[in-house]
Symmetry: C2
Subunit: 345 residues, 2 copies
């Protein structure tokens, strides 16, 4: 089947995601002795696939943490960063210019920096400056390396006692993803699976992905970005309950555009009951104004497992969608072009 | 002209925005003596038009502050909230259920709470509990009260010495908005103005509003929400440079949908030069794939003035857009319906 052939590389990466978690669980972070401070805040500095792990930690911290996690998608750093900040500089390639800039500024502010990267300039600078570096395997595309880019931060924070339960949540996530991948991997004999069906629903539409604050929101953001990067097509996202205060009104006109919208709601058994009620009512309000509305429930028990169950389904669906468009999901020529233009004089 | 008649109320509110700032500048916050603590963080808890002021403060804090500002659009509160948190509970009506819930939880965590509201349950609870209440004029719709909902927080933080320059920035903002409103108010004799032209460009399209991190991002989010609430139509937003890592790839397919997209880029003379370069390159990449791409520059000198110059233009444009759709921008029946359904058993 043509879509399996062009998507082969990305499918291989996806199938390997639980293995990324397993490898990280075995890793030793030899620099931990330098990071025993009582931190005031945590900053995760990165872009795209290197930043999404920061959103997962931010969400987790808002739920169960004692200090804030701030995600920094910028050349700059928040002005409040200082020596009481634990600063993760995350760049899969090690050459992301925004993150290299932020690293320098964090160093000037004397933050405690840990780098997560497969190499590049970031690795060289950090080793030279004496900071902890988690060197992850190279050879993937950044968005496929979500396990390698997220788990080390989670395990470090677990080991430091800042978020002690993260390690066991990662262990459960391995289980949930290992089950899920058998259900959604490409199978020529049994071509129907939940990810493929989701992709089919999104074809030739305007995908709008909705999650819940403190719950599925990061999976919704991730799916939006994966549709952009893998299926090379537009997608948008928002979060309950905020969307009930503005976006839900925007379904009157123009009708021909609304008739192309497909809404995907990521939901979760542990959502606040008021949020669940909002989802039900919002579905009633908008379903007849749009092409389709789908509700997809997470699986698993811990926060991380539930979140990653949705991330994984969305990741696979975005690759199937690329296949339906006869697009190779793996290369992102536009981003390469942009980087080349940026490095010109 | 029909669109002026249906939009009359909202146009009146908009014209009055600089006056909201002036009134706030004259206000005295008699409770300040209770809030002299050295805070670890600031939380702004609210939804929709009551939350956007929090985003402005968050952006400002990342630039110039010494402590983080976290915006909380939820029933819950971040777990790290404690007695060293300055907690703003913002609800124009005073009856926003998420914010009432968050207020209770913040009270249990012994945060220092200040409420910004025109009345309702929040006002009664806060007065009874002995917290500071800023009672703003009632009678507007929340999104039109952005001056009343933002300025008191800014002035309080200015007076407390946390963000000392905010007061003078508000003063410059009054000037800039006062000039701008003469250029963009409805005028039957001279019907052409920048806000009306912007509205015209967005008609029957998929508006996608892009801002820059630490710069125009909040104005982009605001404009997206105002198109939803005033023009009752869909709109989406994103931020440079993050969008260069995913959204910029999503312009290959489907062509018939992309041909309806109108991109509006909010830019600013003080944007990082790398961001300016990214905007130029991104325009080159996407402009031939979409219906139209507009670049709109802020005016003014201080951060607040520049941000509000764009907010104001977008606010007016969203009301003109409602007029072009023959829609009355002021009522939001969908939100009233949602609230009624939520309060059923």
């Amino acid at each position: 089947m043509k879509d399996n052939m062009t998507a082969e590389k990305m499918m291989e990466y996806l199938y390997g995601l639980p293995n990324q978690f397993v490898e990280c669980l075995k890793a030793e972070f030899t620099f931990m002795g330098n990071y025993k401070k009582r931190y005031k805040n945590i900053v995760v500095s990165g872009l795209g696939g290197s930043a999404i792990g920061g959103d997962i930690l931010r969400s987790y911290a808002e739920n169960k943490g004692n200090i804030p996690v701030i995600v920094n998608r910028s050349y700059e750093i928040p002005n409040f960063v200082d020596e009481k900040t634990l600063f993760f500089a995350v760049s899969y390639s090690g050459n992301t210019e925004e993150t290299l800039s932020a690293y320098e500024k964090a160093k000037n502010k004397r933050a405690d920096i840990i780098c997560i990267t497969s190499g590049g300039k970031l690795s060289l600078m950090a080793e030279s400056d004496g900071y902890g570096v988690v060197k992850v395997p190279s050879g993937l595309v950044p968005r496929a390396a979500i396990g390698y880019l997220f788990c080390p931060m989670a395990l470090i924070l677990s080991e430091l006692g800042i978020f002690p339960n993260l390690k066991s949540e990662i262990e459960e996530t391995v289980q949930v993803l290992s089950e899920l991948r058998e259900e959604i991997k490409p199978d020529i004999v049994f071509p129907d699976n939940p990810a493929r069906r989701l992709a089919e629903s999104l074809m030739d539409s305007i995908p709008v992905i909705w999650g819940s604050i403190g719950g599925t929101e990061t999976a919704a953001l991730r799916f939006k970005a994966q549709i952009n990067e893998n299926a090379k097509s537009p997608a948008y996202y928002n979060v309950f309950p905020e969307l009930n205060h503005n976006e839900v009104v925007g379904f009157a006109v123009p009708e021909d555009i609304l008739s192309r919208v497909v809404i995907v709601i990521f939901e979760d058994k542990y959502d606040n009951p008021r949020i669940k009620k909002r989802i039900d009512i919002t579905e009633d309000i908008v379903k007849n104004r749009v092409k389709n509305l789908l509700r997809i429930e997470s699986r698993g028990e811990s926060f991380l497992a539930r979140l990653f169950s949705l991330i994984y389904l969305g990741d696979y669906a975005s690759v199937y969608l690329a296949g339906r468009y006869s697009i190779n999901p793996t290369p992102v020529g536009v981003i390469d072009y942009l980087k080349a233009r940026l490095s010109e004089g």
